[in-house]
Symmetry: C2
Subunit: 245 residues, 2 copies
DNA sequence: CAACTACGTAAACACCGTTCACTGACTCGT
DNA sequence: ACGAGTCAGTGAACGGTGTTTACGTAGTTG
């Protein structure tokens, strides 16, 4: 049956335990409380044993961040699956609201993944591959952005006119990624349906969505917002409106 | 001459020393490196002595955050003073660019002040007075927003139409603060010149500016942006354009 | 000059990350 | 089946941390 040896089975089980307890500490008491000794105490082993699984506390936190991303992506996927496949607008709403709700419900995890300097969290491989941490979440983001593009003729007013020249190269690279995502969904499109202006607009939308969520999580709005939800929704409506919805 | 007694003079000097060394540790090695013992070592005293000045490490970090805000505000004020008083557009550019430049140059300080959960940084007094930390910075933000309003007839397309009802009360409160700021500058205005739609737009502008800066500091753009500066400037141009500049 | 205030200290406690030598159970080739 | 090898886990140790406590002592004040 099980190919794995007993030792290997025990190892993966212990590792799962470690991650689960570390996650609980993060959620309940914040990053600083994610202590090797505290984790070990919860799991029922001693702190040095953790070095059989991770190079250091930082390494563990890095993996934890990846887990968080994976779970967030799964949650957003679940939200997405409950929406009519043809209603792209509702899909965007679902994912964005899901992201906001998740961030507010898990501020510590949000802070770890979305508000940590790169050198703190590392994740910068030798070949300069950035944002490994956000990979899973990036997948969902791309997924939705891809659906949005594939299933909707973009309005003409998203011309490439006011896109700064210096961004053309970067945006073109992102455009290729987006198009590849769309094509992976079985929809054949080319660059003509996704002008750089639209790519730029998607990026700007991420800036606004992230900005609102982070400001809300960190409580840094310029005035007390007693009910930020309609503000978020209204922003989403405006973003979608600018894309022709 | 000096009203203060010798002890008092020594005390303020020591406190200044503590803050300076703590600040240096924060800038150079990050929040976790701001250690009572490390500070004490640099200052030339022992760790428990710090408890004569602060209730705890958290308390010290809170005060440090206020210092950071004050310095940021001073820096932005300096930037502002170099701009033609009548050129509001240039003033907005100066402050926003200054904010971005400061954040990129001082990521640890930015993280402490603008990306810390409120319970981590506290600053929530008993009477629920939030965002004490950002007060000084908020002053500058309000200052510029006030100038922007006072010196420029806002376009009509910033109607209150698409402002969610639920936000009216909060926005009205912010509107009063903005108007008070403007009036403090000697310009008499009333609510007619600053519709809620404009207040809303100012808030949305903060969302975008903050979002961009934070994404850049934390490296969480959906793709590698080799040169984010034109992106930021183009965003500012769009924000100003929407306000009729 | 005596009484008092308060800054700073040393010692101690309970934590922390990390290293190291070591044990003992599991695995595998013969 | 058994010996050799692997490796998860341990306990002790080192140097670091925040914080409390009792205490000395310099500065202040009557």
């Amino acid at each position: 049956m099980t190919e794995a040896t007993r030792r290997e089975r025990l190892r993966v089980e212990t590792e799962r335990d470690i991650r689960r307890q570390a996650r609980a500490l993060l959620v309940e008491h914040g990053r600083d409380a994610v202590t090797l000794r505290a984790i070990a105490r919860e799991v029922g082993i001693t702190a040095p044993a953790l070095y059989r699984y991770y190079d250091s506390r930082e390494d563990l936190l890095r993996r934890l961040a990846e887990d968080v991303c994976t779970d967030l992506a799964a949650e957003l996927d679940a939200d997405l699956s409950r929406i009519d496949e043809d209603d792209v607008s509702a899909q965007v709403y679902a994912v964005c609201r899901g992201f906001r709700r998740w961030a507010l419900a898990h501020p510590q995890e949000f802070t770890l993944v979305f508000a940590s300097t790169e050198d703190t969290l590392g994740s910068c491989g030798p070949n300069g591959d950035r944002s490994q941490v956000g990979d899973q979440f990036g997948r969902v983001f791309l997924e939705v952005a891809g659906r949005l593009i594939a299933s909707h003729p973009l309005p003409d007013d998203l011309g490439d006119d006011d896109v700064p020249e210096e961004l053309h190269a970067d945006l073109a690279a992102f455009q290729q990624i987006l198009l590849a995502t769309v094509n992976d969904r079985g929809v054949a499109v080319d660059g003509t349906v996704l002008p750089l202006g639209a790519v730029y607009h998607i990026t700007q939308s991420w800036v606004r969505i992230y900005g609102h969520v982070a400001l809300e999580v960190f409580g840094r709005f310029p005035f007390a917002v007693s009910n930020p939800e309609p503000m978020f929704d209204s922003m989403l409506a405006q973003i979608l409106g600018e894309m022709g919805f």
